[in-house]
Symmetry: C2
Subunit: 391 residues, 2 copies
Amino acid sequence: MTIAFRTIAGNEGPTSARAGVLSTDRGDVHTPAFMPVGTLATVKSLLPEEVRATGAGILLVNAYHLFLRPGSDQVAALGGVHRFMDWPGPILSDSGGFQVFSLANLRKLTDEGVVFRSHIDGSEHRYTPELAVEVQCQLGVDIAMPLDHVVPGDTASGPARDAAERTLRWFDRSQAAAANGPAVFAIVQGGVDPELRRWHARELVARDAPGYAIGGLSVGESKEDMHAMLDAVVPELPRQKPRYLMGVGSPEDLVNGVARGVDMFDCVLPTRLGRNGALFTRTGRINIANARFALDPNPPDPECDCLCCSRFSAAYLHHLFRNGELLGYRLATIHNVRTLVRLCEQMRIAIEAGAFDEFSREFLASYSPADEGVRRQQQAQYRSRPRTTES
Amino acid sequence: MTIAFRTIAGNEGPTSARAGVLSTDRGDVHTPAFMPVGTLATVKSLLPEEVRATGAGILLVNAYHLFLRPGSDQVAALGGVHRFMDWPGPILSDSGGFQVFSLANLRKLTDEGVVFRSHIDGSEHRYTPELAVEVQCQLGVDIAMPLDHVVPGDTASGPARDAAERTLRWFDRSQAAAANGPAVFAIVQGGVDPELRRWHARELVARDAPGYAIGGLSVGESKEDMHAMLDAVVPELPRQKPRYLMGVGSPEDLVNGVARGVDMFDCVLPTRLGRNGALFTRTGRINIANARFALDPNPPDPECDCLCCSRFSAAYLHHLFRNGELLGYRLATIHNVRTLVRLCEQMRIAIEAGAFDEFSREFLASYSPADEGVRRQQQAQYRSRPRTTES
């Protein structure tokens, strides 16, 4: 697989917002781009054409999950993940580093790799940088992530440095293993230490990856730390390569990320929140199960152009959620994904018009993020508890 | 609402298979017709256009469920059930007789009506023939069912006669209450007593309904009894009115029903089985979660033209079910509904070609119904236990 990236607007300063095009063998993706998460080769509840109809041009699957079930060799035997799930566009896969260090029961960590117990059935597996690449080759994805050593957001500098160094050694082995497979991005780690982050970024840049991911963020650290790490890392990255902020995020996170020069995002937030009845609107989140929507004949979000808001009332969506109807999960998922994809479209337009700063200022002034306490609680869950398969 | 019915083929003998057209203000429906069940104004997991794409031209909602939640008055305030769920085609509603006598906690039964406790929250409600019609007027459906007194399949003749007589008195009141609302079908009851069934049919025919439903079947009686009741009732019904066998059924039930002159069917079977991973095929049921499908690159049903079988492998559907993925429920539902609707299409074509007997013989010879023990057990559950909302 080959990929290419070019910026088409913005990109003036080392951390400026920019609009670009990521070209893959399976089509072009306009950036800034939000990638819906299809962990198990399905964006939960949606058909591929519904994902596409939100405007999303690329999606993410998870190598860890597909390695365990049904097995990446089996996906390969069935023609690869694109055919398996009938999504013809580009696919990026996460290696499973995040999952191995959080979701699975980690048994042993050495420079060679990890031994973990499956979160499904407790079976024991060895996982190495080479195997992570092989798994992603078997899936046949367009962009692969190398195995990395992810540490929680509050990790001290010493262990964070050890993890970053190991991630670097693993990246060398991943590159060597990739051959004619997917484009393997590098992942910048380094906890919340800006010096360590900068050093790690420079080391990875010296190895010339086709794209640079920023990992180990949104794992319990503060928003201030996340922004400080982006401010440290992005200036080290080459201007003509795509930058991908992993596992992020919320509408405000996307705006803050693009403002710091990020091009790509993925997160389970829109799909998971949607299944819980929480919908993004232009000013913040609403919960459609709230009694105030029971008789509301207006769309759930009157400013939204998604399938759900174009055709159904808040009262109907409320009714579906109150009764646990599967269609409700679907409609709310479509709404939330469309909202993040449209936000990316709006940012792109603003960047092309040279008006991103104004857009960003207005957006952040009028959008109320979820309660900070709730957010920290959610992030703490990421670090300490078994996850659903969508993690 | 006005409806009309004409037969276009078959219909030679009093119980012959026939093909026809049911015309409503919201469009024509070709018969034999299977009506997917959308109890709470949603065919579970599907959007209206997906239901339509199976070939279904009419669907069923349940007045009992919508009366309790969100309230038929609230559906009316939101523009009626067609707009509420965005289904522009004809809708038939069941009155709730079956639910009141099985799902709800029946507190009091008099000629005036019933008092029951909601299966949702235990709240107490009065329900009368007049209210059942009013509820269905508020929903704005095209065809309504009158409140009837449904008895289990093993009810003795005496109580069955009492119930049939009450159903008759209630039908008179339902007709009087209907005015300019939906077309109100009559429902033939009478347990498994052919004489009682014949008498009841004649009494209802004398009252000139726009269509005739046959109720109180598939509620625990044997298949032989069900067929005997159809053989008793259908000859009493006018040839130029539609005949609707309520709550039926399986593929073999549809063929056996059409062979006895039935035009319309509804049943939760395809949707409920689908959510359990049980798929109809031309020769019987399969369970897609079975390990033998784990690596199967073929469609779940290689003879099927549904969205699921056209695009996805049995292995992918297996994977979705093994992981509890919502898309699996959807795809299996689409497959099962399409299979029953296509069976109706095939019967229509056979009738028009004068070849229904042959079609029926071949179908029944090659189709293996689910194990009879399983079937009886399922039916016993219908009678004795609280139900899911789809009942």
